[in-house]
Amino acid sequence: MINFEEELSKFIPSPEIEQAEDIIQNNDMTDISDIIKELLKRNNDEL
């Protein structure tokens, strides 16, 4: 059974092409390698 309102709330607006630049700039590029690097850096700093 589908709850219409609940399902409807899951739909979010789709970004338009004019907004692509903002989306790209705000994109989080952090991956595991960056996290590991950050951890190693903190570790080295503590040491």
């Binding site: 059974m1 739909f11 790209i24 590029m29 390698s33």
Partner: protein, 471 residues
């Protein structure tokens, strides 16, 4: 390859970076795991499990953001699902990480080289956002109209399919929703939302926003659901066609009842006119024929007279001792026949009559046997010409009397009496002329002739009156 820590170029077989001393084994494991997820994503993309492929590719990129292949593939999958902006974002980022020898260049150029297509994709996104607003405001009809347009602009926009299917399910159009969801399933075979909606199509949609209410067992439609009239295509308007046929039949009937009888009547009147004209022409022709027959008879009669006269003329023998007479008679006869050949109004019989009064015709001894034919001819000519001559001269004398030219009138009246001594009118007006000239003696003579010789004539009483006056 580049060192993930310092970014310097190093040999890929090295365990430690020559520049920063970082342990490269860990990074190698991360990269191989990233490639593993990329491979899994690629496998799922090949069987159109796009949702599964997206999950694996995102894992791959979370492990290694420099995995260009994974990013490009993710962009392709986004584009296939109608998420144009997400696709372009991934390709742009991919190009940022790897500017050269990158397939993302080709993908971006393919999209941007067709501005019309790009605009239609953008229009689809805008209409989708508008439809979503309508749906959240409760204007389901408007949302459905917009979403139909979106689906036509971008048939791969799965989210638009989902929203439209949801609205159709809410409005009890499960069949149409099912068709829509099956189309979406062909694009992404494992899309959970698509599968969930398909499974729930036979179960009515509840509008209750309370999450706990969805666990209730009642599947029936609540009073908050307002079923709206669904869009139906217009059926062919048979009624209009039937009306048209009825109108044509009525028009034909009116024509038959009103117009055709008048046309028939007019035609009959024309026929009657033609018949009447024909009959009249026949009667006119008959009259002409009768006139022609009468004229032919006259011609025949005149030709017989001419022939008779000609015979008389031909049988006429000129005696040796009176050639002048016969020459004159012959000439006169010939002239008379010439006059007869003319029309009645053109004949001058008075001239013939005048010539008959010449001495040459009056000194003839008609008692001799050989003169009998001559006398007959002359008498015949006189009989034919004298009546016309006496009338001619009487009219002339009467006109002169009326103009008070009494002496000239007496001359003409005498001439008239030469051709007809019994012309009572000429005798009367001769007496009157003498009376006017105060020659009562001669007047009395002619008055007495009229009274005594023609007592029954219309001039007798007048003569008596005038005679009494002068006596």
């Amino acid at each position: 390859m580049n060192c993930p820590n310092c970014g310097n170029k190093i040999n890929k077989n090295k365990i430690h970076c020559e520049f920063c001393g970082s342990d490269l084994n860990l990074y190698r494991k991360i990269w191989s795991t990233s490639n593993l997820y990329y491979n899994r994503g690629l496998t799922k993309a090949n069987i159109r499990d796009l949702s599964g492929a997206i999950t694996d590719l995102r894992y791959s990129l979370e492990l290694n953001k420099y995995n260009t292949d994974a990013r490009n593939l993710l962009g392709l999958i986004y584009f296939e699902m109608g998420e144009t902006v997400d696709a372009l974002s991934q390709w742009v980022i991919s190009k940022h990480f790897k500017p050269e020898n990158n397939d993302a260049d080709r993908y971006i150029n393919a999209v941007q080289s067709n501005p019309t297509k790009l605009d239609s994709l953008n229009q689809a996104i805008k209409r989708y956002n508008t439809a979503l607003n309508y749906a959240k405001q409760g204007s389901d009809d408007l949302a459905i109209i917009q979403l139909k347009k979106v689906v036509s602009l971008n048939p791969h926009f799965i989210r638009a399919h989902h929203l439209l299917a949801l609205l159709l399910i809410k409005n009890n159009e499960s069949d149409r929703a099912k068709r829509l969801l099956i189309k979406a399933l062909k694009i992404d075979v494992s899309n959970t939302r698509t599968l969930r909606y398909l499974k729930a199509i036979d179960v009515p949609v509840t509008v209750n926003s309370d999450p706990s209410a969805k666990q209730a067992a009642e599947p029936s439609v609540t009073s908050t659901i307002m079923p709206l009239s669904s869009y139906k295509e217009d059926k062919p308007n048979i009624i209009a066609f039937v009306n048209l046929v009825i109108g044509v039949v009525i028009g034909i009937a009116v024509t038959a009842i009103l117009v055709i009888p008048s046309i028939k009547k007019t035609y009959q009147a024309k026929e009657n006119n033609y018949y009447t004209e024909y009959v009249e022409s026949l009667s006119a022709q008959a009259e002409k024929e009768e006139a022609m027959i009468a004229l032919q008879k006259d011609i025949q009669k005149l030709e017989e007279e001419k022939k008779e006269l000609q015979e008389q003329l031909d049988s006429f023998v000129l005696p040796e001792d009176n050639s002048d007479f016969y020459e004159a008679l012959l000439r006169l006869s010939q002239d008379y026949m010439d006059e007869l050949s003319k029309s009645a109004k053109d004949r001058d019989l008075v001239a013939i009559a005048d010539r008959l009064t010449d001495n040459i015709f009056n000194t003839l001894d008609l008692e001799m046997d050989e003169r009998e034919e001559d006398a007959n001819l002359i008498n015949r000519l006189k009989a034919e010409t004298y009546p016309a001559a006496t009338k001619f001269y009487y009219d002339k004398g009467h006109d002169l009397y009326s103009d008070a030219k009494y002496e000239e009138a007496l001359i003409e009246l005498d001439r008239a009496l030469t051709f007809d001594p019994e012309n009572v009118d000429a005798l009367y007006f001769k007496a009157r002329a003498y009376h006017r000239l105060k020659d009562y003696e001669n007047a009395s003579v002619y008055y007495n002739i009229v009274i005594e010789d023609y007592p029954d004539s219309r001039r007798a009483n007048s003569s008596k009156e005038y005679l009494n006056k002068i006596q």
